[in-house]
Symmetry: C2
Subunit: 179 residues, 2 copies
């Protein structure tokens, strides 16, 4: 099996920001030549498929500035420094939907955009939900919706759910439940 590894020769930090940093690295390519790699550094995040006893999934509607539109997404959020993924998932679900879940299951982790970002997403399934109150950050504007898992599958096909992590989570929930 050929080794395609690229070795870092030098690294330049272009931007240090709030949710991301941008780095441009010079690397040794497998053919011996030099190349440039643009890397959006991200601390990682969690995504939560929270299911009610009636097989409804919790979605959040929010304006996504980079996409210039409101999207329907699974609850999700960035890992804080030294935060464990499960703790983060529990915190984000509470903040965005006001829900506490009695049953948590980590499905798997995946890269959102490995071509240009280090962001890794940890997917959790949450059940046995208790509904309390939302606790949003000062610059978060989020509205919760409950949608049946079947309806959510239809919304993916219609393009009304069009966020990668949300599609991954909903299709994975369907797999898990063997629907």
């Amino acid at each position: 099996m050929k080794d395609f590894k690229e070795k870092k020769l030098s690294s330049k930090l272009v931007y240090k920001g709030k949710i991301l940093n941008l780095r441009v690295d010079t690397v040794r390519l497998p053919n011996g030549k030099e190349g440039q790699r643009e890397v959006v550094e991200h601390t990682g995040a969690v995504v939560i498929v929270a299911l009610t006893d009636k097989q409804e999934v919790l979605l959040v509607r929010q304006y996504r500035y980079p996409a210039q539109q409101e999207l329907m997404e699974l609850p999700a959020g960035k890992l804080e420094l030294n935060e464990k993924t499960l703790e983060c998932a529990q915190r984000e679900l509470m903040e965005e939907t006001g829900v506490v879940a009695g049953n948590w299951n980590e499905l798997y982790a995946f890269y959102s955009t490995p071509g240009f970002s280090s962001e890794k997403l940890y997917l959790f399934m949450a059940k046995d939900l208790i509904f309390k109150e939302q606790h949003l950050d000062a610059d978060e504007f989020v509205e919760m919706k409950k949608v049946s898992l079947q309806r959510a599958l239809g919304m993916i096909k219609e393009g009304r759910i069009n966020d990668a992590k949300t599609i991954v989570g909903i299709l994975s929930a369907k797999e898990e439940l063997k629907m």
Copy 2:
């Protein structure tokens, strides 16, 4: 329904690169305050689930520098200026796998990371495959693998396929084929 739209007040281009640009915009938030939004501009890309007559899916193994590891992914690639999504899908499938497909079907489009990037991915399913020769770009190092769709589903559960667009594509193919 509350309107969560964020209005651009000013925009600063931080970096203009090869596969992405980085912009930091000041916006008016729904609560009237000002906020900052970091936006990774990307021209968009295509992803291809190419299926053989035996329900095998074509995967490409490649080193992903931002993830610091080799990943198994569906063939994919960036849209060139003014390129139609189907043309791009046909070109990328040919370049990365050497395959020409007789039957193309656009499933849907989705955002890879709407929290910080404008990148939109267009998912295609390709069938009636004819195998020819790979035509890689100078800095692309890619190896094709054929894997049964069932095995690919197992690889997702085991974390051996851990790229968002690839998980979306494989689970969507399973849906389409009503497996």
